[in-house]
Symmetry: C2
Subunit: 350 residues, 2 copies
């Protein structure tokens, strides 16, 4: 079977890889895969730390994908010979003030209700784990089950020449130009234009800081004076600071306000941040849906015939890539899947 995938980002390429593993012939269409939201993702694999309140319905899918991640990462590394920056140190939740701690405690309760490992810690205990944290940090928790991956390495591996995927470097304006037996639409914020589905861009700004030595060993998800920030250390001394969430249409301008909203809480929680070089500022567009859950399923009644949608993953594309790849590949090759995706069908928006 010839499968065409529109969109060469993390979601599209994860589906592509799963399909080639199942013996299908896959063509990926993307004029410039560097546009994807994965380029500005931090790569936190934290089904609960990343879950906002109101997204609890997504938790089952997140946990399922989280379970799949270690195997997904190991197999992708083995298949491509490429590292993914997969790390398992866990996440620290960190609050600057007593008010911020109230916010973190709500998150801790969320972990507990989900049956996920989380251990409340005092400021002193957090500083024992991460000595560079501010002495002002009041408290927080450790979520030992959270992992991380480097999205840039992940993308590089998924684009490896060792995966037998055909690349066509062009934008798809119209499905009628494609001759594949099955088409999977996985082009993020471009899904709306191709399908009419309500996928909107949610702007995220992100910073890459750089120092000689890593300031952290854990991923830190912090709250400082009500501002949320995450700090993701890489082994080479890079510290990723993210991310704003802005409803501004398809604007990708890096703004003074976005940078300030990230640097301020970062420096409050981790004063050493001030000494780091501001190596890169970025803005990307996450594909959001009205309920901010992904769209996974068949587009019924499409004139092209076998058309599926895999997108709208919002802030969760990296985390949800393995389960998305598995479920969508099931749909394409078998017509059904053992993953419960009943809440994520196309039909809820048509």
């Amino acid at each position: 079977m010839k499968v065409g995938i529109v969109g060469g980002g993390i979601v599209g390429l994860s589906v592509a890889w799963e399909l080639v593993r199942r013996g299908e012939q896959v063509t990926v269409y993307d004029r410039d895969p560097r546009r994807g939201a994965g380029r500005v993702a931090a790569g936190m694999l934290a089904p609960a730390a990343e879950a906002s309140f109101g997204e609890e319905a997504l938790q089952g899918l997140m946990l399922e994908s989280m379970r799949r991640w270690p195997g997904f990462a190991a197999e992708l590394s083995a298949a491509t010979g490429m590292p993914l920056g997969y790390r398992t140190e866990g996440t620290l939740l960190v609050a600057l003030t007593e008010d911020d701690l109230t916010e973190v405690r709500r998150l801790v309760d969320y972990y507990l209700r989900a049956g996920l490992p989380v251990e409340p810690l005092r400021g002193r205990e957090l500083r024992e784990l991460e000595p560079m944290l501010s002495p002002r940090v009041r408290g927080g928790a450790k979520a030992a089950g959270d992992h991380q991956v480097d999205p840039r390495l992940l993308l590089a591996a998924l684009r490896s020449e060792r995966l037998p995927v055909t690349w066509v470097e062009r934008d798809v304006e119209d499905l009628s130009s494609l001759r594949d037996d099955v088409i999977i639409i996985a082009n993020g914020i471009g899904i709306g234009r191709l399908t009419g589905l309500p996928v909107r861009p949610v702007k995220g700004q992100l910073l890459r800081l750089r120092g000689a030595e890593p300031l952290l060993t854990h991923v830190v998800r912090g709250v400082a004076l009500g501002r949320h920030v995450y700090l993701v250390p890489r082994a080479d001394g890079e510290l990723v600071v993210g991310a704003t969430e802005e409803e501004r249409g398809a604007d990708t301008t890096v703004t003074a306000g976005g940078v300030l909203d990230l640097l301020r809480p970062a420096a409050d929680l981790l004063p050493g941040v001030a000494e780091l070089a501001l190596a890169e500022t970025l803005a990307g567009l996450r594909p959001g849906t009205p309920d901010n859950a992904p769209i996974l399923g068949r587009l019924e009644g499409h004139p092209h015939g076998n058309v599926y949608v895999a997108g709208g993953h919002y802030r969760h594309g990296v985390l949800l890539a393995p389960v998305t790849a598995h479920a969508v590949a099931d749909l394409v090759t078998k017509g059904s899947t053992d993953v419960d995706i009943s809440a994520y069908g196309v039909g809820r928006f048509t």
Copy 2:
């Protein structure tokens, strides 16, 4: 007379221009004139607003140069046909809190003692002049005599092919390689290496923000929660935000802390800053001396013979360029000058 000038920054080229106007043959040596401190200067021409306490001794020279600036600008524009972005709207001194206002009042007193025009204003009056200022602004003043120039345009004009200066694109490691009758050393932080004089680099970080419309018409020098910042609007919608002062040797890394120290007070005083694009981040090195006053004079007893120094202008290179050009050209062509530069001789450090 053949004059060689080491250093093609604002100071060196201003001296060069004055000498060619006096009929001398000038060669400028600089491998990469884009390195100069002028590249990261804001171009405020504010003899008092820019004067720190402790620099009062410099005030006479600043006022003399300020008086020369309108003519210098007009003649340079006429000679080159190039605009300099010369503007005369004056500076607003702006304080966020009552404590910040105490700081601004000290500056106002400084203007008054110097006999410079300055008018204390309440928050409401400042917002009438600049409606985008934060409603939280407590008060400040207007210094109507302050002007501004765009240092990039100034540098471009001073490099104009219409000025008959010979350029040699190389670094001068040793004066013995030069065959000019007179040598003027004007290469900023490089003066120390060539002469042994105590000129040190003082790092300054600066941001260029960009919006569709200018947020300000005046230059704003502000104090917000104890942090000093200046905001220099350009007609094309650019807003220059500067500048840190850091004693870090010759380091030109743009740091998270530097950017934060500029954006935080800028956004406190002018909330619309948050919406602007962060177009450019820069760091440059000002040439500082032990008393932070410039070095203007003859280097006595140098084996090369006629060697002069024009440098160490610290934060005041743009402002002091006209008076420096006049005084140093006088020294070179006449052996003395009518400008009182007795406090700035080479001898005070040898």
